[in-house]
Symmetry: C2
Subunit: 589 residues, 2 copies
């Protein structure tokens, strides 16, 4: 059976030694978020998550969520685990104090989400979806709406959903057909069908707050005619108590490849009572406000599952005996050695470590910029951090979730046949992680966001600023860091050339960058990880102990064996789109 232990030491390394989370205490709101507090939070969260939620990962997968007469039952143990998780205040960790949150930095909540995803990705979606609802109401709700919902979402006795997708409207939300008809009392009656609604119905909370995209009569076609509505499962009485059941029903739950413990619902709204959130016809823009956070969260799901796969593969490789080193003749002894002696097994383990730990640095640093962008007193700092978050969000979402699938696959491979059977829990990681590449904007859409929007935002300043930061880190590196700086300089140079080519290509043919977007995002992610591994190597250099020596070894592996992948991608990006777009459809059979 697979196990999971929250990687608290690595999390503290990233928070304290890589991104200097302590600097956030300079912001008044975070003055209490000292290193002690952060360590305490991580230790407590790890204890609870590992012991009560991580142990339900495989049983939750085997049992799955089930539907009976419109009621969804979550797997055994989820209800109790969720209750104690909510009671401990983890859901409200970074929520506002006035709404019963703890007001701690988002980057700390990020570390807890990383833990929770690694412990039990399916479980993590129940509290996870509440974030979007909370943020949407915070940004666009009336004061009364805020007071009605936000504390409950923060405390976790209610949960949230995002009801966007319909059978004919997935990536293309302009096709949303759900109707919202205004009533005399100012409410709306919502009528339509939504699919793929994560946590749309379940037995963990007293109420479920659906945020629904719908169209009012006569609204413009396309995305400019879509509005956002809050539709509670149980209507709320004037005094805040729960009233009658609303007509928002789960008609079916999907049979999926993985995340079986999470209920993915078909939701029917049959004249359900809803209330407009924000302005009419601004539903899509309202969604975008919370998109960065939601996408980062999905990246963390990929990270968590990658961590889970990596931990177990390393343990297995140190225990499982099979074969012997190439340098030892069979005749010396017929006993087998542990498989970690094999170069290819080590290659797989280091690949898993380098990608997972590298992504952790990238994700947490991006999360810290979220904190800065929202809370720093200096507007220039806020803007610079906002730009960084805008740039790195699609990279974190798509690159890390691709890493989730790659690392999960390597985890299966390290176990060999034992990885393919359910007993060891490694195949579940592959099944769970694939959805992260799809929902919250497919990775193809993330890549389009990167090349189509982010590269040109602020007059093209976003990548320029990031590359300058990488160069500055390179410039200040000592000669003994050459094992990273040389490959990184070369990789950055390739990325800069390709970036310039892409920006220019858009003047002539929009399809060039679109056809290259996924490969470009891979390059961007690899160079970003190279940058963070350089920072990690600098910190670890000269320090004693296996932890730091391990960081240096992993940085060296990344720079030597993974970063050069960019040189296979660069010519592909710059080959343009003719070979993709010119062939007529009838040739693709």
């Amino acid at each position: 059976m697979a196990t999971y232990k929250s990687p608290v030491q690595d999390m503290e390394f990233v928070l304290n030694e890589i991104i200097n989370v302590g600097s956030l205490t300079e912001i008044e709101k975070f003055e209490d978020a000292t290193e002690d507090i952060i360590t305490g939070v991580l230790d407590e969260a790890a204890k609870q998550i590992d012991n009560t939620i991580g142990v339900l990962n495989e049983s939750g997968d085997a049992e799955g969520a089930s539907l009976n007469n419109g009621e969804v039952t979550t797997p055994e143990g989820f209800k109790e685990a969720y209750a104690s998780y909510a009671e401990s205040g983890w859901i409200g960790l970074d929520k506002d104090i006035e709404f019963d949150g703890q007001g701690l930095p988002y980057v700390l909540a990020t570390a807890v989400t990383d833990m929770l995803s690694g412990a039990n990705a399916a479980f993590s979606l129940y509290p996870g979806l509440s974030n979007g609802a909370y943020e949407a109401l915070k940004a666009h709700g009336t004061q009364a709406q805020k007071e009605t919902y936000m504390s409950h979402l923060s405390l976790g006795d209610w949960s949230g959903t995002m009801c966007l997708t319909e059978p004919g409207a997935g990536s293309d939300l302009g096709q949303v057909r759900t109707k919202a008809v205004p009533q005399e009392d100012g409410s709306y009656l919502i009528e339509g069908n939504k699919i793929f609604i994560t946590a749309g119905e379940h037995d963990l909370t007293d109420n479920i707050i659906h945020l629904v995209l719908a169209r009012t009569p006569g609204a413009p076609e396309g995305i400019r005619g879509i509005s956002m509505f809050v539709v509670p499962k149980f209507l709320i009485n004037e005094d805040g108590s729960l009233g009658e059941r609303n007509a928002a029903e789960c008609a079916n739950i999907e049979e999926k490849m993985g995340i079986h413990g999470s209920s993915t619902c078909v939701m029917n709204f049959t004249d359900a009572k809803g209330y407009l959130v924000g302005e009419l016809n601004k539903g899509i823009q309202n969604m975008f406000v919370m998109m960065n956070a939601a996408r980062l969260m999905v990246g963390l799901q990929g990270l968590g599952v990658a961590e889970r796969a990596t931990q177990n593969a390393i343990t297995y490789a140190k225990e499982r005996k099979q074969g012997r080193p190439l340098t030892r003749k069979a005749e010396s002894s017929f006993d087998s050695d542990t498989i970690i002696v094999h170069p290819d097994v080590r290659r797989m383990l280091f690949t898993m470590k380098a990608l997972t730990e590298g992504c952790r640095m990238m994700a947490y640093d991006t999360a810290k910029h979220v904190d800065l962008s929202e809370n720093h007193p200096d507007e220039a700092v806020r803007n610079a951090s906002k730009a960084r978050v805008d740039l790195m969000t699609p990279v974190c979402k798509a690159f890390i979730t691709d890493v989730g699938v790659e690392v999960s696959g390597l985890g299966v491979q390290v176990y060999g046949g034992h990885g393919y059977i359910k007993e060891h829990g490694m195949e579940q990681n592959m099944r769970d992680s694939k959805i992260f590449c799809i929902y919250e904007g497919t990775n193809g859409i993330q890549a389009m966001d990167l090349v189509g929007r982010k590269l040109s935002m602020n007059d093209g300043q976003l990548p320029i600023d990031f590359f300058a930061e990488v160069k500055s880190e390179l410039a200040s590196a000592s000669a003994e860091m050459a094992f990273v700086t040389q490959p990184l300089t070369s990789a950055l140079s390739a990325l800069e050339e390709v970036t310039a080519w892409l920006i220019k290509s858009k003047e002539e043919d929009l399809n060039d960058s679109a056809a290259a977007a996924v490969d470009y995002l891979q390059m961007f992610g690899l160079v970003s990880l190279g940058y963070y591994w350089l920072r990690a190597a600098k910190v670890a250099s000269g320090k004693e102990g296996v932890f730091y020596q391990g960081k240096l070894a992993t940085a060296n592996f990344f720079a030597t064996k993974l970063l050069p992948r960019v040189h296979g991608l660069a010519p592909v990006v710059m080959s343009g789109s003719r070979c993709v777009m010119e062939p007529s459809e009838e040739l693709i059979v």
Copy 2:
């Protein structure tokens, strides 16, 4: 629901226009294998496979094989489908006429296996495992053993298994502990436990013929003390009729990630009666005789599933409407276009096509060399083809099965959220295909076979001869083929440089090539596909019709967007093994 239609047109293109299968009629044994016969066989096989076996793919996955009181029940419909498949003679297609086979070329059986794997990979394993038993008995059995078993295996009323793996002996067969104690009548009593035994028990055939690796008392340690035994489920009376039940029992069937319709058995042999096959202590060498064929077959499984994913993704991309081309403003019409207009969707579809169709050419050409190596009257031709088969077998096994996973994953991605739910059958491809990277020698072991054995075989002549063939194909290409020849020349040059480096590295540090083996095999596979796409482009050039135009477009895509991956791999291979091997185990945590 996913569908599958055997790609007969592409198969005929490869057989007739790429590898010139008609030339096999020059060999006496194959003089009847004319183009007409081959077309007839393919059409008939496709009809039966698509209509009776392909339709059971998803139901077989949902139902799975089940065990009750030692009896395994295959999913509904498998029994009837297997009976009619065997009756039609498909299992014996390439088996010897004297043993009730049809004596047709192996390459034709290869095409049928490709179909069968695409139609229903789990089902394909039941007839598939009989091949190994047939070949082992053919090569090493006594005349009496041949007469007892081979016709039944060829006709399919009996099936075979390969009982190698034990809990402590997977990749390292030297650890096999199953005992074989000689009896006075010349038989042996077999005692031990085998795991992961594909088709170890099922309800499709009257008897099951287990080939078991075991150790006799006092045999040498390691792989030099292992012998091979034939252990029938039902003993066979003198007159050939079935006798008493042997003590070979299925104790459990594994819960797996995929191929649920295939029974993967824990087999207990409790003093089961067995008979030595071949010489004592030569069990491993005996196994190796059939290893090439078995590994090629697994490559075909990856190919089949990739084909299935590709077909469905293309169909879906032409039907599913979502979004609009980048070049069209929303305001012109709010209607959606089919997703095949999107550059990234096209990139995915062409990637799937280029890899799948490229692997088909590589696999069939290798299969034709199997026919030549075994049947050509000229010893020099036989030897050259044998060398080619030796070289390409690990490439076909590992590269194509990696392609199976990559293409299956892209298939899910093209469908978006609809790919992740079971309803459309795309996630099953990912689950089914992962095992192909593991069994019959993990892909890491294939890569070690390529760099450790095949590169140095025959004084290092194998890659030299293959590269010469690629160069000759390049040299004879016209200038209009530059879209392939230029990238291929560059890629081949990188591969040659890396190959020379690897061979030399073995003199100094065996770990260098071992640490680079998987990346090297990827390079080798990509260049091989480049070579076959050049051949396809030459054939298609100047020919009319969408089929040939599609081949040219796909060749162009492969050369432009996929082949350059080698340039990201070359520096990785040549970076050696220090970063992998120097860190002590305690640093890998």
